[in-house]
């Protein structure tokens, strides 16, 4: 599989209805917020987790789409881990050069594991050559408007401990955001995919799988806490040059998300208008709407 030849920048919009997209361990699992603006946040690592889970589910977890950072929740231990046809047979040389060997290990990990190839990984060796920087970089997702978390108290009509049998009921709490539309920016570097020494071999197929994951990952991530999360838009800027043809910030400005005049309290995606300014696009940049 050949590495990608183009730089990509993308804008990803997703929303949540009556749920908690990403709890903050610092404040009792309340939805994360930027305290200055009250806007909601979803961390990059939270989204990466969902991408990994989706790829594991969609591809069955075998090479070349194995997932290194696994969650036990999807232990589909089918162990169809067959010998990878492209497997490298490392020769146990008499005098292996540490660096060359480290590089070989890195390459092997990239070949077999989708998440190492995409997001990178830190591998420990005596020689510090086992650091893989993945081509895909995600920022924090931030909500368009301030979100107002609500604390919901719920009751359970059974108890855990025998000694509480008199109580008959226990109470619990959860936080929800009635509605929030979140915007996330992402970057795909062709150089980190295809560079001779640093490249991870991230290919067109891998890229399409990434976009597929972003489009569908919430469908397979339902839970009581998250309820309805939906991918709404995925707008990709493709540069015809490996280094890019325009600055990412200028391209991102072309995607405007505006609340409709009459929607002072947004409660659905239809309360927003998304416009993509395609006029005078920089030469060599095309807009692809994946969703």
């Amino acid at each position: 599989m050949a590495a990608i030849q183009n730089r990509y920048d993308f804008v990803y919009l997703f929303d949540i209805i009556n749920g908690n997209p990403n709890g903050d361990p610092d404040s009792g699992n309340m939805p994360r917020q930027d305290l200055d603006t009250q806007k909601g946040l979803v961390t990059d690592v939270s989204l990466k987790r969902k991408i990994r889970n989706y790829v594991q589910l969609a591809k069955g977890g075998g090479p070349p789409y194995a997932i290194y950072m696994q969650e036990k929740a999807i232990l589909n231990l089918q162990h169809q881990r067959a010998y990878d046809a492209l497997g490298i047979k490392p020769e146990t040389k008499k005098l292996p050069k540490d660096e060359a060997e480290a590089r070989e290990i890195t390459r092997w990990m990239c070949t077999n594991f989708y998440d190492v190839r995409t997001f990178g990984a830190v591998m420990t060796t005596e020689v510090n050559a086992g650091q893989v920087r993945g081509p895909v970089q995600l920022g924090f997702a931030q909500s368009i408007d301030p979100v107002i978390p609500q604390e919901i108290t719920i009751t359970r009509s059974s108890v855990t401990n025998e000694k509480d049998v008199e109580k008959e009921r226990t109470m619990g709490r959860k936080y929800i955001i009635p509605y929030g539309l979140y915007r996330c920016h992402g970057f795909v570097s062709a150089s980190l995919a295809g560079d001779e020494t640093k490249g991870t071999g991230f290919s067109e197929e891998d890229l399409n799988l990434l976009f597929e994951a972003l489009t569908n990952m919430f469908e397979h991530d339902r839970s009581a806490a998250r309820m309805e999360m939906n991918a709404q838009r995925l707008i990709v800027f493709k540069h015809d040059n490996r280094m890019g043809n325009a600055s990412a910030q200028d391209l991102f400005k072309r995607v405007a998300v505006q609340r409709k005049e009459n929607a002072s309290l947004p409660r659905s995606f239809s309360d927003y208008i998304i416009t993509i300014n395609q006029e005078n696009l920089p030469k060599g940049v095309v807009v692809i709407e994946k969703l």
Partner: protein, 211 residues
């Protein structure tokens, strides 16, 4: 401050170098940061995240490679959880003043300053980069633009004492860079001061740099 990360008040010279290298770098050149202008008030925020405590054990990868199977080669995140808080800067804006030097021993015959300067200026001017530069860690992407030679320098938003206006502000010891040439890669430090919103960075080899 590594386990619970706390940001410095100002971008370090080493981070600034990383941003420039993300736009253009070759082994034949070495970026040298001269000064960092701080344009916005210094504000912090705390973020706590679930992180993974372990790294990929290379030895494990090696045995799997020999066996030619991925059996048992993964990291279960639940068994390796660490919640770490990071105290990060919010809403930053800097101007980096830098130049580069040609590294003679790694330079080819066609490596001259003009060529690399042209490449950098062309890329930075067009928003091109090798990979998107970041502000410290990769989840915080950096937007960049080139200040043309005749453009006025952007001024700090407010001339506050915190940015060293009126009286130099001592930022204490700050990482200058990591000495990658030396054995076990020691960190080098310098005494950082903000004077009228500008942090001057000592040149390589100067006596101000401490090991």
């Amino acid at each position: 401050m590594k386990v619970e990360r706390v940001s410095y008040d100002v971008m370090t010279p080493s981070a600034a170098r990383g941003i420039l290298e993300a736009i253009h770098w070759k082994p034949a050149i070495r970026w040298v940061i001269d000064a960092i202008h701080v344009l916005k008030p210094i504000r912090f925020q705390s973020i706590r995240r679930n992180e993974v405590g372990g790294k990929v054990p290379a030895t494990k990868a090696k045995t799997a490679m020999r066996r030619g199977s991925l059996e048992g080669l993964h990291l279960l995140v639940e068994e390796n959880r660490q919640q770490r808080a990071a105290t990060v800067l919010v809403d930053v804006s800097y101007v980096i003043e830098a130049h580069f030097e040609i590294v003679r021993e790694r330079a080819g015959s066609d490596d001259n300053e003009g060529k690399h300067l042209d490449i950098f200026n062309r890329r930075a001017g067009r928003g091109q980069c090798f990979h998107q530069p970041c502000l410290g860690t990769r989840e915080f992407d950096a937007s960049f633009s080139l200040l043309p030679p005749d453009a006025p320098l952007p001024q700090a938003e407010e001339e506050s004492a915190e940015l060293g206006f009126g009286h130099p502000r001592d930022l204490g010891f700050m990482l200058w860079d990591i000495d990658h040439q030396a054995e076990d890669r020691p960190s080098l430090f310098f005494r950082a001061r903000l004077v009228d919103g500008v942090m001057r960075v000592p040149a390589p080899g100067s006596a101000e740099i401490l090991r």
